[in-house]
Symmetry: C2
Subunit: 258 residues, 2 copies
């Protein structure tokens, strides 16, 4: 049974890509088979996993119906982690897809054959920092939404937009069953009060949905993409790596409890 | 002579809003008259300057031609700094404006009467983290582009997208004279090699355009928006404040040298 999880938050720089890469890596390390789809034209998830940008390698052609998404799947340095990379033609997707019929469901339809095959336990989708067509497509295709929230004031402001959006997606019938997979607090800085205040505030809004494991601010996490490696390969013993490994365990534990 | 400057970078969380607010504040403190336009539906620049979200207060109506932009100008806590705030109706602007004639020039046309009046020395525009209709409108209306770049690896990856976009805006005739005002390095962490490597790399790409004053990572800067205050009012003596004051001085010095 393949589940599709969108890693999304319209606020920029909150750790979506870092979370998508490292959760995917540690889930695959826990014997799960994972496909990561890079739906951001910036292609950070692709380069963070060491993929070169190759013309025509992205999901763009599948979105506009020119070729099946399965043809775009590439292997990564980790056995049970595959990726559909991004590249610059995705920049044009916002406008090109908006003009098509069923423009909100293009991604869902492109993924459907891969979901039906059931090879993957999870398909994680790294979303761009906006509420445009690409993110809306990801939310229309997803079973659940995994929301990284940075421990900063502006991140709190974004919560009302995310909640509003979720209600809209459900009530409009675009994806009536879309649920929240979980909320992961990122870039927690134990030296400041601000971080703790933000965590407390988010927990008062979302309660149980907030993961107990909080990701600390860690330089090694921001260095690893420059080597094209997830943290599990770059430095598996640093605080950032331990936190993502614990978060992946919490994900699997929560899944069993459902 | 009023100049329009877009503060833009499609990479998320690099310090666009923090730079737009604090450069606007310190420029207004140097006897310049400044208008800040919040073109991001997240409305971070508005709340960072203490404005409540009020329905209908954004530039949206001016973009769709229902009312003049001048009616949306509000005062801030600083004498020479005014703002056109954002609010949630801007979320709909991407799709609504895209359907209009001359959809790339709606913002330029909305600003034209304010520019012609010449009351402001600068109109700074805080852009969302995307290359959608709102950012494209800002680039079509701007005389120059001020680019904050975070001292992180993924920020480097975004440089090629920005350069490509700038060339496209000029060559397509959308805004043939768009130039770079400057590049400001943000969230510099002197404890890591990564920050220094990124600064060196950006300087090798953009040379003279990179400001000498680098903004350090500073907790006070990330706390100030929760009080609705620019850093000049929240804590004018912290390292973050000094850095933005120096950067505003560098802006004025560079302008005189042109
Ligand atoms: N826990 C962490 N500690 C330190 N740095 C981090 C951490 N998580 C992410 N970063 C760094 O912070 C920056 C922003 O993270 P990232 O790019 O993952 O966010 P994003 O939400 O995907 O951004 P965008 O909105 O542009 O897609 C990156 O440079 C990343 O390397
Ligand atoms: N120099 C700094 N030191 C510490 N924190 C900073 C600094 N500059 C910005 N921040 C914080 O980092 C986060 C990102 O900054 P900001 O929101 O200004 O970026 P942005 O580019 O406008 O983001 P978006 O792409 O979502 O519009 C914010 O929480 C902000 O308070
Ligand atoms: Mg990202
Ligand atoms: Mg911003």
């Amino acid at each position: 049974m393949t589940r599709v999880i969108a890693v999304a938050n319209q606020k920029g720089g909150v750790g979506k890509t870092t979370t998508a890469i490292n959760m995917a890596a540690y889930l695959s390390d826990s014997r799960k088979k994972v496909l990561l789809v890079d739906l951001d034209p910036q292609a950070n998830a692709s380069s963070g996993l060491g993929l070169e940008r190759i013309e025509g390698a992205s999901i763009y052609e599948a979105l506009v119906g020119e070729s099946p998404a399965r043809d775009k799947i590439k292997r990564t340095a980790l056995d049970r982690l595959d990726i559909i990379p991004s590249e610059v033609d995705l920049c044009g997707a916002e406008i090109d897809v908006a003009r098509l019929d069923r423009h909100l469901f293009r991604f869902r339809e492109a993924l459907a054959p891969i979901v039906a095959e059931g090879v993957y336990d999870y398909i994680l989708v790294d979303c761009p920092p906006s509420l445009g067509i690409l993110t809306m497509n990801a939310l229309a295709a997803a079973d659940t939404l995994f929301i990284p929230i940075q421990c900063e004031y502006y991140a709190l402001e974004g919560l009302s937009i995310i909640s509003h959006l979720l209600r809209q997606i459900r009530e409009s019938g675009t994806n009536p069953n879309l649920a929240i997979e979980g909320i992961l607090m990122t870039m927690f800085d134990s030296r400041t009060n601000l971080s703790q205040q933000v965590v407390t505030e988010v927990k008062s809004h979302f309660g149980e949905l907030v993961y107990e494991n909080v990701i600390p601010r860690s330089v090694r996490l921001s260095e690893s993409p420059s080597y094209g490696q997830p943290i599990i390969l770059y430095d598996d013993h640093c605080p950032g790596a331990k936190a993502y490994r614990q978060a992946a365990r919490e994900w699997i534990r929560r899944e069993k409890q459902k």
